[in-house]
């Protein structure tokens, strides 16, 4: 007997359509179907609910009718995650785009899940505040997508990631009921911190409806320094000097081509704070960077440099994109492993690391590897082995569908996997939400 007939319900699309008509849920146009296509798999339906009640009704109907749902924001980039296991309806929350409650005096904000991060930041900037995350393409990233894909950027070095900023969440459960955890105050330990569970869960545990975050004041002054090193050994030494200097960098990024020689090896350090504090750190950095060229930008120019840095990995070429997580001290050793792999597989790569956090993004740039599953798999396995040997992990963030079909994008040996599977079973026993997209095919 095939796996499908054993495990998977046969979706009753007609019944689902009837339920939706009754609930008055807006459906997508042909363009929307293209937008929410995941790895070449078109959604069967595209839905735009406009209230939490509608989301709940869709979930109830989907559960009863055996329909799979993929929650989404703008949906242009649903590429993170595994191939959808079953035909699905995309459930986009872009109509949920209201700022629910901003309390400047308390440094908190509550936003609906479909609001774009850019719109949110613009609203907050009026009060000289921001949500201190800088995910790629903020205008194309919804609050729900930010949380579900656990997106972060260079500022995570000093500000933490979404999980550190999220203080409350309201989620529509797979059974079509609403449940919240946390609240709207910065400090709160009443009940379990379930918000963490939805961070990075890629929409497999619930549909995020609304989220509350703690905020920071916008730093009055910003500066970035960009230093060019001749090789990784020099970069490593400079990073060490930065680490031990009297500095409080907002971010420390390392960009390098592999193999070396294909371009410059660059370190970018950013500062944010009061005018005096930033100016003082710039002076320190200048003293540190003797021997390297140092280009400095301040104010709006610094903002532009940071935006490029934030988006670089997303916009850069290369369909095979990997993310390794390592101890910061293992960064150079990992780059050395990349060099070996590049020679062996005949590929070039662009490496972009959050050097202070040990997060390394690798874009593989030779098209042959992007498109042939087998060679991509060999490369991924080799690099995953290298990351593991250094005590780290490696996941595939983006790949061609045929590549994804040929390898496990998350890797095996995931700690506590049985617990994760039980969490999924507890919160989505019928497998309605994003089946197949998360670790071990959850």
């Amino acid at each position: 007997m095939s796996r499908t007939s054993l495990m998977e319900p046969v979706p009753d699309w007609d019944g689902f359509d009837d339920d939706l008509r009754l609930s008055g849920v807006a459906a997508g146009t042909p363009a929307d179907f293209a937008r929410f296509t995941i790895d070449g798999i078109r959604p069967e339906r595209v839905l735009f609910p406009d209230s939490a009640e509608q989301v709940c009704r869709i979930l109830q109907s989907a559960r009863a009718r055996g329909v799979a749902l993929v929650p989404a924001g703008f949906g242009a980039h649903l590429g993170l995650g595994g191939l959808p296991l079953r035909p699905f309806a995309a459930l986009s929350l872009v109509s949920f785009n209201a700022l629910v409650d901003h309390q400047p005096a308390n440094m908190t904000v509550t936003a609906q899940a479909g609001m774009s991060v850019a719109a949110l930041q613009a609203a907050l900037a009026g009060s000289n505040q921001w949500l201190p995350v800088d995910p790629p393409l903020p205008a194309a990233t919804s609050v729900g997508g930010l949380i579900s894909a656990d997106l972060s950027g260079p500022s995570r070095f000093s500000q933490g990631t979404v999980r550190d900023l999220l203080i409350g969440i309201t989620v529509a459960r797979a059974d079509g009921t609403l449940a919240k955890s946390g609240g709207r105050v910065v400090k709160n330990v009443a009940g379990y911190d379930l918000a963490k569970l939805y961070c990075g869960a890629l929409g497999t545990l619930g549909v995020i409806v609304e989220a509350t975050f703690k905020l920071r004041g916008l730093p009055p002054a910003l500066a970035v320094g960009r230093m060019t090193c001749s090789d990784m050994a020099e970069a490593r030494e400079l990073l060490e000097r930065i680490r031990t200097a009297p500095l409080e960098p907002r971010l420390i990024e390392l960009l390098t081509p592999v193999p070396a020689g294909g371009g410059d090896c660059i370190i970018v350090v950013g500062f944010g704070g009061s005018d005096e504090d930033v100016a003082d750190q710039q002076t320190t950095l200048r003293a540190l960077a003797q021997g390297q060229t140092l280009e400095e930008q301040v104010g709006e120019d610094a903002v532009a440099v940071l935006a490029d840095l934030r988006d670089a990995n997303v916009l850069g070429e290369g369909l095979l994109k990997l993310k390794a997580s390592l101890l910061p001290t293992r960064l150079t050793a990992f780059v050395a492993a990349l060099e070996d792999a590049s020679a062996e597989h005949g590929v070039t790569m662009a490496v972009h690391a959050h050097a202070g956090n040990g997060i390394v993004r690798v874009r593989v740039q030779r098209p042959e590897v992007e498109n042939t599953g087998r060679s991509a798999r060999a490369l991924v396995e080799e690099l995953r082995g290298a990351a593991a040997a250094l005590g780290g992990t490696l996941v595939v963030e983006q790949a061609a569908p045929e590549v994804k079909a040929d390898l496990d994008i998350w890797g095996d040996g995931i700690e506590a996997l049985p617990l994760m599977q039980r969490i999924k079973e507890a919160l989505d026993p019928k497998g309605v939400l994003s089946p197949g997209r998360f670790v071990a095919g959850i």
Binding site: K187, A190, Y192, G273, D280, L326, L327, T393, E415
Partner: protein, 475 residues
């Protein structure tokens, strides 16, 4: 329940000196820092390693015996009160710092390690562990993880959950799992994030990977004196609204100032209505300007006097007064109950008024010492537990204060947890669906409800009522 057989089996695992079952010795374990309710376990077992914990839990599972984890018992919501859990697993012998990696800024510690030890060991490397509960000289890392503890300096830098990268957790069936990792962004659900703050209901944390932070380059500590808590609270709101994020913003009211002054002779003005301790840290440059701004805001809000700590010694003395404020209260009444509510910081003046009114209505003396910057209040209700009626009024007034916090948009607890103390109040902020979701997650870790049962959730069939104390409190 303390069958000789069970005691014997436990001794086989942890050694004869690792099991306590004599009634007099057990009385030490009959409450934590929350003394309104007491109940001693039948057996206390003190393992030394993750393997021993796992073996103990496997045995308890086989015998169908529920248990409660305990750190050092400084909890303030009755979290380690053994209700329906005959065996207590105490982690105090698991007190080794296993690894300290200054370059990657990580420490690996056993869960019984005392919070302050971590920063003490990290200090020579210019690092510290940020969460600094006022109990940091006594509380354990395991307790911090279980309660998601905060402290004065977590306003700017975040609470425990923001500083833990991984834990080793022994599940109630004895299985050992590792959640999180040495590295960031471990693939999979953030089970670590839910475990932090789960109040010991998911299993026993035996080890933790902690993030260490560089010590601030410089810091400036101001003490502003106000005629009233309302003036001080207004200053707090204005500081936050002004975009300044101090490292700490702590307030003490008149009653506490007097108690602290009697105990420590720091030189607090005895007639002040409130003092605000504001600490700013960061780069040397710019600190002076920020401190100037805080000073201006305090003056504009009626500060009658502002002092700046001249050196580290003065600063340390000031923090000692703040952190030992609770202890100093022993002089004022035989007993006290420290509440732990939260309001949005801009509602502080309102909640302070309400607390004063509640104190009058219930004829109770209530002092306030609190983390003002994040709206986390600690009203302290004084009483004498021999006076049954007064004790009951303390319980009722505490609940009323929390109700007011909720009404103002806040929460029932900012750092002490729900424990047994606040079980009955959970429906004030959570719907049955909210609570059901939490219980479903709990069941993933503890399907048999045998790890720290009867806590957090107000399920009708196992309602816990706060009772009058049965014995003289040990404060």
């Amino acid at each position: 329940m303390a069958t000789p057989r069970l005691v014997g089996w436990l001794q086989d695992i942890v050694g004869d000196d690792g099991v306590v079952s004599h009634p007099t010795e057990l009385s030490v374990y009959d409450c934590d820092g929350y003394t309104l309710e007491k109940s001693a376990p039948d057996i206390v077992v003190l393992p030394r390693s993750t393997e021993e914990v796992a073996a103990v839990l496997k045995l308890l599972r086989r015998e169908g015996v529920p248990f409660v984890p305990r750190g050092t018992g400084t909890g303030l919501s009755g979290g380690c009160l053994p209700l329906g859990a005959p065996v207590m697993v105490s982690l105090t012998r698991m007190n080794r710092i296993l690894d300290l990696d200054p370059v990657n800024r990580r420490a690996v510690v056993q869960s019984g390690v005392i919070n302050a030890w971590v920063s003490r060991e990290a200090k020579p490397h210019g690092l510290h562990f940020v969460p600094d509960p006022s109990s940091q000289m006594a509380c354990s890392i395991g307790g911090n993880v279980a309660e998601n503890s905060g402290g004065p300096h977590t306003l700017k830098y975040g609470v425990t959950t923001n500083h833990v990268l991984g834990v080793t957790l022994v599940l109630p069936d004895g299985e050992v799992v590792s959640l999180g990792a040495m590295t960031e962004d471990a693939p999979g659900y953030d089970l670590l994030g839910v475990t932090v703050g789960s109040e010991g209901t998911f299993g026993i944390v035996t080890e933790a990977v902690l993030k260490l932070q560089p010590l601030p380059q410089a810091c400036k500590t101001l003490l502003a004196v106000f005629d009233s808590v309302a003036d001080g609270s207004a200053a707090v709101s204005a500081i936050i609204a002004g975009g300044i994020v101090p490292a700490a913003l702590e307030m003490l009211d008149h009653m506490i100032i007097q108690a602290v002054e009697d105990a420590f002779h720091f030189g607090f003005p005895r007639d002040a209505g409130a003092v605000l301790i504001a600490e700013l840290d960061g780069m040397e440059a710019g600190l002076e300007a920020a401190a100037g701004k805080v000073r201006e805001i305090c003056e504009a809000n009626g500060a009658t006097e502002i002092r700046v700590a001249r050196d580290d010694r003065e600063r340390e003395a000031l923090w000692k007064c703040r952190k030992r404020a609770f202890g100093a209260l022993g002089r004022l009444a035989p007993n006290f109950c420290c509440q732990d509510g939260v309001v949005p910081p801009n509602r502080l003046p309102e909640i302070m008024e309400r607390i004063a009114a509640i104190g009058e209505a219930y004829d109770l003396r209530i002092g306030n010492v609190f983390h003002a910057g994040d709206g986390n209040i600690h009203p302290i209700l004084l009483y004498d537990e021999r006076d049954r009626n007064e004790t009951e009024r303390v319980v009722a007034a505490g609940r009323e204060i929390l109700r007011e916090c909720v009404r103002l948009g806040g929460s029932l607890t900012g750092e002490h947890g729900i424990g047994v103390e606040k079980v009955a109040l959970m429906p004030l902020i959570f719907t049955p669906d909210d609570l059901r979701t939490m219980e479903e997650v709990r069941a993933v870790f503890d399907p048999d409800d045998c790890c720290n049962p009867n806590k957090i959730f107000p399920s009708a069939e196992r309602q816990v009522e706060v009772r009058a104390p049965r014995r003289q409190a040990a404060m």
